[in-house]
């Protein structure tokens, strides 16, 4: 691909983006160094423009493989940044991010610095990483797009073809992967980068749809080195696969419709990752440095719809106010609760003790469309997985039966990741779980008839069908219990 020159307008545009990053915090890599670079276009591996890039890629791979594994710009070291089984680990090894919302940002940084190293070793000053443009469909061209690109499997000789490795499965023989694997629509139709369980870019923890498909599925399909994060980046096709995943990030943003990077999340925005320049020196980056590939990192993709969506880390982060919550003074004596037997445990909201203005606020919230009463359990924890589900009922006497209205069943507690102390590794913050339950429908009948007390009943049950009372394998501790008003009206 021919490299583009940097126009004055584009220079200023880049400077503006870079300035945005500076405002958000100290820039972790040298902006001047970036601005001195020309613009690069990552070619579609199946188009003629990619041919010189693939030839130069071979040259660079051979040069990088000739370096000792202790050299940060060697092929082995670069692959080990993603993952390795070699011990002891060196700086930045095994730092790949999967199953969380850093997946896209970390891999963009990783590819960017790898690309610079390859360029410096390739003998091609305009070198850019090709992308594996696999697509779904049944035409010959579509099916061919899901075969391993020919230069990566022919000649099938690792000694003479740096793009070939025998460490793959059936795709080395030319078999295409299934059409559905290349279907990224399930990811692209998501509108939230993070937040809901099903999203585009992942939670913390939790993988997004793009990571699941096509990313994970292509790794499994290629198999061999590619099938394991500890070895995947040793395969030269790894980098082209990830360039395509990176391209999909741009495609997703370009659709609009509220799609945006989670720049309001300080953890996503500020977490630093370490890589190496082409001269072997360390460099650190955050997501704020890589939000816009064209303006901040000087590359676009062949046939990409331009301009790319421009985003930057704002000077002052004002997260969207989704829910405003304030406590409501409804006394719950002795709120601490320990459930360690196969029987319900009850606490009582003393509604008779509630002042008139608080009662009025509670009733007003129940009647309102934008406000809701919520029962909060704080510091919920068990030493090991309790192995039961704790049903939470409000406004009942004793154990509910089939005739008990379901509105009193306000929710369940099932500890999974949070709250189980034995699941926390040394990297985990020692946070217990917090649960919130909707109260409006459960408490309304009691408040309207002026009941003196309203029971909160927690019932341990077998999670399997039948749901009999069951003793927890480990006692569940609920330390805090309170009622609050949630206001979901948007500002």
């Amino acid at each position: 691909m021919a490299r583009a020159t940097v126009s004055r307008r584009k220079f200023l545009s880049r400077t503006a983006i870079a300035a945005g990053a500076v405002i958000a915090g100290p820039t972790l890599f040298d902006i001047e160094e970036l601005l001195a670079q020309p613009s690069f276009v990552r070619p579609d591996v199946f188009l003629p423009a990619a041919v010189p890039h693939l030839n130069a890629y071979k040259t660079a791979i051979n040069a990088m493989r000739a370096l000792p594994a202790t050299n940060p710009i060697s092929w082995a070291y670069q692959a080990a940044i993603h993952g390795t089984t070699v011990l002891p680990a060196k700086t930045a090894w095994n730092t790949c991010q999967h199953g969380n919302f850093f997946f896209l940002s970390w891999h963009r940084m990783y590819l960017y610095w790898f690309e610079r190293i390859v360029r410096s070793k390739s003998g091609m000053t305009s070198w850019a990483l090709p992308y594996w443009n696999y697509v779904p469909g049944t035409t010959a061209a579509q099916t061919d797009s899901r075969r391993l690109p020919l230069p990566f499997r022919s000649p099938a000789n690792a000694a003479t073809n740096a793009l070939f490795t025998p460490n793959r499965g059936g795709m080395n023989g030319g078999t295409p992967f299934n059409t559905t694997i290349a279907d990224a629509s399930g990811a692209l139709t998501q509108t939230a980068f993070t937040g809901p369980s099903v999203n585009f870019g992942g939670n913390n923890p939790g993988s997004g749809r793009l990571e699941q498909r096509p990313h994970n599925e292509v790794h499994v399909a290629v198999a061999g080195w590619m099938g394991n994060p500890q070895t995947a980046a040793q395969d030269p096709i790894f980098w082209l696969h990830h360039a395509n995943i990176d391209r999909y990030w741009n495609v997703w943003l370009k659709q609009g419709g509220g799609r945006a990077d989670p720049v309001g999340n300080a953890t996503w925005r500020n977490t630093k990752f370490t890589f190496f320049r082409e001269n072997g020196t360390q460099v650190q980056m955050t997501a704020c440095d890589i939000l816009n590939a064209s303006a901040q990192l000087n590359y676009t993709y062949q046939n990409e719809a331009l301009p790319q969506v421009t985003q930057s880390c704002p000077k002052i982060i004002i997260p969207p106010i989704l829910v405003q919550k304030r406590p409501l003074r409804i006394p719950i004596p002795d709120p601490e609760m320990v459930i360690d037997q196969a029987r319900p445990v009850t606490r009582t909201m003393q509604t008779k003790q509630v002042s008139a203005d608080v009662m009025s606020e509670a009733k007003s919230a129940i009647a309102s469309r934008d406000k809701h009463l919520v029962l909060d359990f704080g510091d919920v924890a068990a030493d090991v997985q309790p192995g039961v589900i704790f049903e939470v009922w409000v406004g009942i006497e004793g154990v509910p039966n089939e005739k008990t209205p379901q509105v009193h069943h306000v929710g369940d507690i099932a500890l999974f990741a949070q709250g189980v102390r034995s699941n926390m590794t040394h990297n985990d913050q020692p946070h217990n779980a917090t649960f919130s339950f909707p109260l409006d429908e459960a408490i309304a009948p009691a408040l309207s008839r002026g009941a003196a007390n309203v029971n909160i009943v927690v019932i341990p049950r077998d999670p399997l069908e039948g749901g009999a009372l069951k003793k927890p394998a480990s006692p569940l501790h609920i330390t805090k219990m309170s009622v609050s008003v949630e206001d979901t009206k948007q500002p």
Binding site: H98, G99, F101, G169, G170, M171, T175, P176, F177, N178, T179, I181, T194, G195, P196, S197, V198, N203, N204, P205, G206, S207, Q212, R213, H215, N216, E217, V220, A221, A223, G227, N228, P229, A232, G264, N265, T267, P320, L322, V323, G387, I389, Q406, H409, V410, G411, D412, I413, A414, A417, Q418, T434, F435, S436, F437, P438, P463, L464, E465, G466
Partner: protein, 136 residues
Amino acid sequence: MLSFANGGGVHKELVTRNGKDFAVAAKPVTVTLAVSRAKTRLAKAKTIVLELEGVHAKAQPGFLVSVRIGDAEVGRVALYTFAEPQTFAFDATEAVKRCGGTVKVRFVPLSPLEGEGVRVASPIRISGVALSIERP
């Protein structure tokens, strides 16, 4: 109702969970979730999420798993990071609403390559299947 740590106000209300550990290999596996006591809540829900917990394998499994409810594929499991337990979440809203008092989740092994049968290098283990209602 579980509050997400990073959900920006997303609330998750667990409906049911089957905590029985099982493995998926060459043959399909069906897991049953009892939802009869939550039919009303599910019918009103805007988003129903199916979660697979503790998904892992001893080695790269070499196959994919189609996760189906009724006739619909609600998602797929492709274990790339296989050694550490992973959680997979799928939007199962429409599929669950078509079910009655019982939701049968079927796990069907698939080959990733066209025209090839399933080759199981390592079974995929799943430690729990849960159904939740999610609201923003």
